[in-house]
């Protein structure tokens, strides 16, 4: 659609089209354009729309677009954007371009303050486009202030109350303010309202926005000074990104980027698969130690997937639960670990018993396979119990240790856990088999 319009080169139609289209839709079309076509779009786009377009693009692409312009235009665009969006994009610029732009933006630029925050901190996603009123103002005066400033802010649905030293006091829904009858001081109609701290983890703040069902969350610093707010739409975007990341990590997928060539995608996913290859070295070494018993009782081999799979499944469950707790900074990780291990012991007993009975029946029916059905089924069932009870312990200790070492537990836990559990499971299984059946 956009491509054809550019090709036809009818400036009036193109201009009208660019003016009417929603920035989100424009951003989707824009991504597919060639550099020349993009230049055409730049030439006919108003600065406001360009700033909107940049906000809707993926951050990296947005940074590329921003870099296409000279410094003066960059400053103009950044000032039109919401500060949190702008800060994200500036962080993606080349170092020297970044410094130049920040310098040019001037001392009191909101963007500059946001850039100091770590990506995981609540402060990094704040915007300061809201209305603040004084607690001693009359409601009529406050309403006037709202009407006067409404044009320059993102939303007026929640009005924040702070004293002359910017100390946060509370919030008022617009509806209560509009319905209030003068004479009445603003502080009389303040509602209970949650508040977040600028250094809180962003995931915690997002959860709070959801729990309290609010559209704007005020953010204060340690001195209780009102710094900004997080809006629901930003919270939503951040949540979706983080959730996708978590999901990908669980599936051992590196961060996906759309529009990557299949070859690049394949190479991108290769490392984790190669790690598995490396892991199989200790597994093969351990198994080799038990070659004698395996040669004598070959049937043991067919139950090996059962034991490794079950331990793996249980470990994944504990890992997911532990990761969620670490990510949301909940307390009680240790208490949770105790529950997980107890769960492992209970479930291990249950499936161990089932495996014992089933293996026994199976071995009795195929007497050609073994002369010791009872012993074999005992080895299978008991090893299963032990490994399934052990799995949660490993799947808990490893992420917690990585977390304490300031490494990302979600990304690194998988390979470690798989190795430790597989090796331990094989030791238990084949070791028990040697002990019980070694004489056969």
């Amino acid at each position: 659609m956009l491509k054809q319009l550019i090709e036809q080169n009818d400036i009036t139609v193109l201009k009208a089209f660019l003016e009417d289209i929603h920035a989100h839709d424009l951003a989707e079309l824009f991504t597919d354009l060639t550099q020349e076509e993009k230049d055409q779009v730049y030439a006919h786009l108003s600065s406001e729309k360009l700033a909107e377009l940049v906000s809707y693009l993926e951050t990296e692409e947005a940074a590329d677009v921003l870099a296409d312009f000279d410094l003066e235009k960059q400053v103009e665009l950044v000032e039109m954007m919401e500060p949190d969006d702008a800060a994200d994009i500036i962080l993606e610029l080349e170092k020297d371009e970044q410094e130049e732009l920040l310098e040019k933006l001037g001392e009191d630029s909101e963007v500059k303050e946001l850039i100091h925050y770590d990506e995981d901190e609540t402060g990094s996603a704040m915007t300061n486009l809201f209305i603040v009123v004084d607690p001693h103002m009359d409601v009529k005066q406050a309403t006037k202030k709202v009407m006067k400033e409404a044009e320059d802010v993102e939303s007026i649905n929640t009005i924040f109350v702070a004293d002359e030293n910017h100390h946060y006091i509370g919030a008022i829904p617009l509806k209560s303010l509009l319905k209030a009858k003068t004479p009445l001081e603003v502080q009389e109609i303040i509602d209970d309202y949650p508040v977040a701290h600028d250094q809180d983890p962003i995931s915690k703040t997002i959860q709070a926005i959801r729990n309290y069902g609010i559209y704007e969350m005020p953010v204060v610093n340690d001195e209780n000074e009102l710094l900004g707010m997080i809006t629901l739409d930003d919270a939503l975007d951040i949540y979706q990104e983080e959730a996708q990341e978590d999901f990908e990590k669980l599936a051992a997928l590196p961060e996906t980027e759309e529009d990557m060539s299949p070859l690049k995608t394949a190479l991108h996913r290769l490392p984790w698969l190669l790690i598995l290859l490396a892991i199989s070295l200790p597994i093969a070494l351990v198994t080799r130690q038990f070659e004698h018993v395996l040669a004598a009782v070959a049937i043991l081999v067919v139950f090996q997937p059962l034991i490794l799979d079950s331990a793996g499944n249980v470990a994944t469950q504990t890992l997911a639960v532990t990761l969620q707790m670490l990510a949301s900074h909940e307390k009680g990780v240790w208490k949770n670990a105790f529950k997980e291990i107890s769960t492992g012991v209970i479930n291990g007993l249950a499936i161990g018993l089932v495996a014992f009975i089933m293996t026994n029946v199976f071995a009795y029916l195929n007497t050609s396979l073994t002369t010791e059905p009872l012993l074999i089924s005992f080895v299978v069932g008991f090893s299963l119990w032990l490994t399934v009870a052990l799995a949660p312990l490993v799947a808990f200790i490893i992420p917690v240790t990585l977390h304490a070492m300031k490494l990302d537990p979600a990304a690194a836990s998988g390979p470690f856990i798989t190795t430790v559990i597989d090796v331990a499971a094989l030791f238990i299984y084949f070791g028990l088999a040697t002990f019980m059946l070694g004489g056969i």
């Binding site: 209970d192 309290y212 609010i214 698969l273 598995l276 597994i283 093969a284 070959a298 249950a350």
Partner: protein
């Protein structure tokens, strides 16, 4: 919020204690109180807060709240609730309780509930609210503002108002911000935007969610087939839906459906055991089947060393393509009707490439390993290496194939694509991989 309320205080003091506690936190507290404490709390917190708390509770606790309230108060509570919250409450409780609840609803509200409950579960209409403000295109700014300020009810969504024409068709939306700063002689059409985004009532929830997210709107209108406004979908409800959907995907992938952080070890066992049991039983079935290869295994003990490698590889590449496909389906990039060719071709190419690469790497690994650490059998290291190469490449490719197609098929038949990540998939992958592995070995060495 870790807070203990001391119920020894008198009512006046207790009221003061409750005042700064937010409704959500009260809802977290409620299940921990005894009957007496609950009754006192309910009588002291005021209707608005009680309403906000009520919607956050589980349906069992919601019914419990009702037992502590007089009829008049129940009426006020239901009157005060947003229509979508009330609908959700009625939907979740047992059918037998419904007639009683209906006796406390006004006629209009009861009708609204019947209407909302009639929509199918996965449609945009099922998460919509009917508490919004409409104005007529020819209303003056003053009339419109009055509707918002004076005539609106407590639960109404006022951040955006919806503009209707004579035929009751929606023609635009006005943000409250623009309405209250507009000069009194401005015509509504000047301040409304008419290129608004909307969904139809029978479109999917996903469509509604995507529209709200893509266009950063706090509310979008829901229209019926004749373009009449029937409700709105608000961003806070969308947020809830998104969180629930992603958490459920994550939990399915991690085999921990319906995990609650507060549940005890015993409860966790009960919830997780069924899937584990399925996996164990399936695995035992594989085992009994594999015993036909016993002779091969006894003869070629080296095979056992690399069995976990082959199963792990096939499982992991399958998980990768499965996760990509599920994410694609959820982001609406993959349509349920026509098979998304690009995605499938790309994933299959990626699967093929990595299967071959890993097969080659495994060949080198196995050959080197067996040269360094020989086993009892009489096979040469490179022979076992070749068997592993063939087994890994083919089983990885098949697993990648299933990771792509199974969720797409599930989605097409209106099943949850994330369900494809269960133990049944793993088992199928295992059987395929092991049959290929031992099969090739039997052909090669016996």
């Amino acid at each position: 919020m870790k807070r203990r309320i001391n119920f020894k205080h008198n009512d006046e003091q207790l009221k003061k204690i409750f005042k700064p506690i937010l409704a959500y936190d009260l809802a977290m507290l409620y299940p921990k109180l005894d009957d007496d404490e609950r009754r006192r709390m309910l009588s002291l917190i005021g209707l608005d807060k009680m309403t906000d708390m009520f919607v956050e509770l589980d349906s069992d606790d919601q019914l419990d709240v009702l037992t502590h309230l007089e009829d008049q108060k129940k009426k006020s509570l239901f009157r005060n609730m947003q229509s979508d919250d009330l609908k959700e409450f009625i939907e979740d409780i047992d059918e037998s309780h419904r007639p009683e609840i209906y006796t406390f609803l006004s006629k209009v509200k009861a009708k609204t509930m019947d209407l909302l409950l009639a929509y199918e579960e996965d449609t945009a209409a099922s998460i919509m609210s009917t508490d919004y403000i409409t104005v007529h295109l020819d209303d003056t700014i003053k009339q419109a503002t009055d509707k918002v300020i004076k005539e609106s009810k407590e639960q109404d969504y006022i951040d955006t108002v919806f503009v209707l024409n004579d035929e009751d068709h929606i023609v635009g939306m006005v943000d409250i911000k623009d309405l209250i700063i507009a000069r009194s002689n401005t015509h509504l059409s000047k301040i409304m935007f008419d290129d608004f985004q909307f969904v139809y009532a029978d479109e999917s929830i996903e469509k509604a969610i995507q529209t709200v997210v893509d266009y950063d709107r706090n509310a979008i209108p829901v229209l019926d087939a004749d373009d009449h406004l029937v409700g709105i979908v608000t961003a806070d409800d969308v947020f809830d839906e998104i969180i629930e959907a992603t958490e459920s995907d994550y939990q399915k992938m991690a085999l921990i459906s319906d995990h609650e952080p507060s549940s005890t070890a015993w409860e966790r066992s009960k919830k997780r055991l069924p899937w584990l049991m399925v996996s164990v039983v399936l695995n035992l079935l594989i085992a009994s089947f594999l015993s036909i290869f016993e002779a091969t295994l006894a003869e070629v003990t080296a095979l056992v060393l690399f069995q976990p490698l082959i199963l792990g590889m096939a499982g992991n590449i399958g998980t990768q393509s499965l996760a990509v496909t599920i994410l694609g389906i959820h982001k609406n990039e993959l349509d349920s009707q026509n098979i998304p060719k690009d995605h499938v071709i790309k994933e299959l190419f990626v699967g093929l490439l990595n299967s071959v690469l890993l097969g080659l790497a495994a060949f080198v690994f196995v050959t080197t390993f067996l040269s360094l650490f020989p086993t009892q059998g009489g096979q040469l290291p490179y022979q076992v290496g070749l068997v592993v190469l063939l087994a890994i490449s083919s089983s990885m490719f098949i697993s990648a194939l299933m990771g792509v197609y199974v969720p797409i098929l599930f989605h097409r038949f209106k099943q949850d694509p994330a369900a494809a990540s269960g133990p049944i998939m793993t088992t199928i992958n295992d059987v395929v991989a092991l049959v290929i592995y031992f099969g090739i070995a039997t052909l090669a060495f016996l």
